[in-house]
């Protein structure tokens, strides 16, 4: 009798241990998967080798990821163009894969345009895109690869603030300029004087979001929900809380969740009982979709005001009707009448067959900012690019007139938008 019981218990205990081990293992697998990731990783490995041996002939460009880059190089046959390598760490897999895909497209489009138009005289940009897998450890690997083996002049990315907090210090130490094109969390540019970003921080957008939405909806109370295991979501929460307090909006309920949660019913039920005028949510895309749809199913009808994680066409697509009326502050909106923005949308649509989102626009702008910095500094090395970035002033971009703050953060006008008939439109 005792025998069977102990066997059963032992098996259960073993099971628990083994699952825990498997969980650790799966993390490693992720890294391994990326190491094996066939196309882009292999191509980026191959590129530097060819470039080194072929003494800067026209051919090495062909080894880069994009065929378009190759044809651009072929179009200007002679002239010993100098090639400057830019590393881009984007989340092509994992939780932020939706963002990474359009970032890659946006950046590549800018590189193709810049190379074709000889934007920086005599310089060709070679964009090396690698996958940070939406994970800190992988972002660090990619940064080390960029800095030590690829010897890039500057780095774009990584996609998530969480990853940036882990990986940017490595670039700072190696004195390689980093331009974040989607990091909106706190404490990114304070890592050091080589870290820049062209993405408006939540702390800049959120006060504008609260102010404009307050004028429209005139709410008195709010419930706030945020993921407390994610740097970006937490920064958004702090910004919302500050802005709401400043405008005398009473926070009647605060709920937390994990970014990987699927079930938000317990938290939303608490929100429902608190009867707020509006629901404020700071979350990445997946939980944002879950919260919006589950809130509507639970019969919550209040307007939802969201942070940057809501700001993607994928949010509208995945949340469907539940997305209607959601208010989001953003660094960029496709309805903008900025001529550069219109031109960008057209070119992007032509090249990829789908409309760009804010992440594509910021990545596209990021490449132009780096190119402008090379031009201003008349240099393509790491120090030169950094000093050029510091010289940028009132630079006209897709995002509007662009400046860096003294703290190397982005400075430009935000747009407050609302979802109407399945589209983001400016809230006016």
């Amino acid at each position: 009798m005792k025998n069977i019981r102990t066997v059963a218990l032992r098996t259960a205990a073993l099971g628990a241990i083994v699952i825990a081990l498997a969980a650790c293992g799966s993390n490693n697998n992720k890294t391994a998967n990326n190491a094996n990731k066939p196309a882009s990783a292999a191509a980026t490995q191959a590129a530097p080798a060819t470039a080194a041996s072929a003494t800067r002939a026209a051919t090495p460009a062909a080894a880069t990821t994009s065929a378009a880059a190759a044809s651009a190089a072929a179009a200007t046959p002679s002239g010993p163009a100098k090639t400057v390598k830019i590393g881009a760490a984007f989340s092509l897999t994992g939780a932020a894969a939706q963002y990474g895909a359009t970032q890659k497209n946006g950046a590549q489009l800018a590189v193709d345009e810049i190379n074709a138009s000889n934007y920086v005289p005599g310089v060709k940009i070679d964009l090396i895109v690698d996958d940070d897998a939406s994970a800190k450890d992988q972002a660090i690997n990619v940064f080390q690869q960029f800095i030590n083996s690829d010897k890039v002049a500057a780095i774009l990315g990584p996609t998530l603030s969480n990853s940036a907090l882990a990986a940017d210090p490595i670039a700072q130490q190696a004195k390689v300029p980093v331009l974040g094109v989607s990091n909106t969390g706190e404490g990114i540019t304070t890592i050091g004087d080589y870290i820049f970003r062209d993405s408006l921080a939540e702390a800049d957008v959120v006060p504008q979001t609260v102010q404009v939405s307050l004028q429209k909806l005139n709410y008195k109370t709010a419930a706030v929900m945020y993921a407390n295991d994610d740097a970006f979501s937490k920064a958004g929460y702090n910004a919302f809380k500050g802005a709401l307090d400043k405008n005398n909006v009473k926070i009647v309920d605060t709920e937390t969740f994990s970014t990987n949660d699927k079930d938000f019913s317990a938290q939303l039920t608490n929100v429902k009982n608190a009867k707020p005028d509006v629901i404020v949510v700071s979350a990445l895309l997946d939980p944002a979709v879950g919260i919006a749809t589950q809130a509507r199913k639970l019969g919550l009808t209040q307007p939802i005001i969201g942070g940057n994680g809501f700001n993607s066409p994928a949010f509208i697509k995945n949340a469907g009707d539940a997305a209607e009326g959601v208010i989001v502050g953003a660094a960029w909106n496709s309805a903008s009448d900025n001529p550069l923005s219109k031109k960008f949308i057209q070119a992007y649509q032509a090249k990829y067959g789908s409309p760009p989102d804010q992440f594509a626009a910021q990545a596209y702008t990021g490449v132009y900012i780096l190119a402008e910095a090379m031009k201003l500094a008349n240099s393509t090395d790491r120090e030169g690019i950094r000093s050029g970035l510091l010289k940028i002033k009132d630079f006209p971009t897709v995002l509007g007139t662009f400046n860096f703050t003294p703290g190397r953060d982005a400075q430009h006008q935000a747009v407050i938008q609302i979802v109407k008939n399945g589209q983001f439109v400016p809230l006016q």
Partner: protein, 292 residues
């Protein structure tokens, strides 16, 4: 409050459905099939494939996914279980082989669908919300709770009253004696794997649909919960697994609502630990007298 109870019952019904399959194999063979969570995930993808790519209705897609899950159960039996059956210390070797099987399925799902979250189209299931008092729930949630109850009761009836069920119990009691009595033990075990996996598959489709999120790693969220549910309910006990599932759902919702989201998993495992200490047999554990 009423709403929180509804939330808990609902989350619990998915745990119950998942754990019932888990506990069936455990009850009969005293082994944990750790590929169960991967079957859960693959079935969700199978249904997604049918709805998204082949434009099937949800009903046939669910049947298809259930069948796929059943077939996967049979494969687990032939590949991960049977070759190790006669070896010493089957408990440990089958844990490893079923984990390997799960890893293979996850890798396949990653290859076919990528790591990002896939979703069912929004109109896959009729969207209708009921209100009872202050509580709201959707038609889908009602169907899931009812389905979980019907399926688990059905399974209990099968084990209790049918010939196959009798054979299963005989194998659970004493495999050698069952063989001597002329029971086709291999067939009984095979069928158990198929039924267990089919139930896990249905749980996976429901989970993927109701949270509208299907990803290769989705099984990890439920596998440890499933384990604590079967320990809570009494290892091998079907009514225990059902009750354990609902209890865990309620405990989880209560802890999130009262203590915050950080405590969700902690509470689940504190419950598991407490049960192991205080009542090793679980709530409905068998009186283990068969070898006395």
């Amino acid at each position: 409050m009423a709403q929180q109870i509804v939330n808990g019952i609902f989350a619990g019904s998915i745990y119950a459905l998942f754990a019932v399959g888990y506990t069936l194999v455990f009850g009969i063979l005293d082994i944990l099939n750790l590929a169960h969570q991967a079957v859960f995930m693959m079935a969700a993808f199978a249904a997604l494939q049918a709805v998204l790519k082949w434009k099937w209705n949800f009903g046939p897609a669910l049947l298809f996914a259930t069948a796929i899950a059943g077939v996967l159960g049979i494969l687990i039996y032939y590949i991960a279980y049977r070759p190790l059956r006669r070896r010493p210390d089957t408990y440990f070797s089958t844990l490893i082989s079923t984990i390997a099987f799960a890893a293979i399925l996850e890798a396949l799902a990653l290859r076919w669908y990528g790591a990002r979250t896939s979703r069912f189209p929004l109109n896959t299931f009729p969207d209708h919300t009921f209100h009872i008092g202050s509580a709201a729930f959707t038609l889908l949630q009602a169907v899931i709770v009812a389905g979980a109850l019907v399926l688990t009761l059905g399974l209990q009836a099968l084990v209790r009253y049918t010939r196959l069920g009798k054979a299963m119990r005989a194998v659970a009691e004493n495999e050698r004696a069952a063989r001597v009595l002329g029971i086709d033990v291999e067939r009984v075990v095979l069928v158990s794997f198929a039924i267990s996996s089919a139930l896990g598959g249905i749980a996976g489709v429901m989970y993927g649909l109701v949270y509208n999120s299907v990803a290769p790693g989705m099984g990890h969220a439920v596998e440890l919960k499933g384990l604590s549910v079967i320990v809570l309910g009494g290892m091998g006990s079907i009514p225990g697994a059902v009750l354990g599932g609902f209890l865990l759902g309620l405990v989880e919702v209560a802890s999130v609502a009262q203590l915050g989201s950080n405590t969700r998993d902690a509470v689940a495992f504190i419950v598991l630990f407490a049960i192991l200490l205080l009542r090793p047999r679980g709530l409905f554990g068998r009186r283990l007298v068969r070898e006395v």
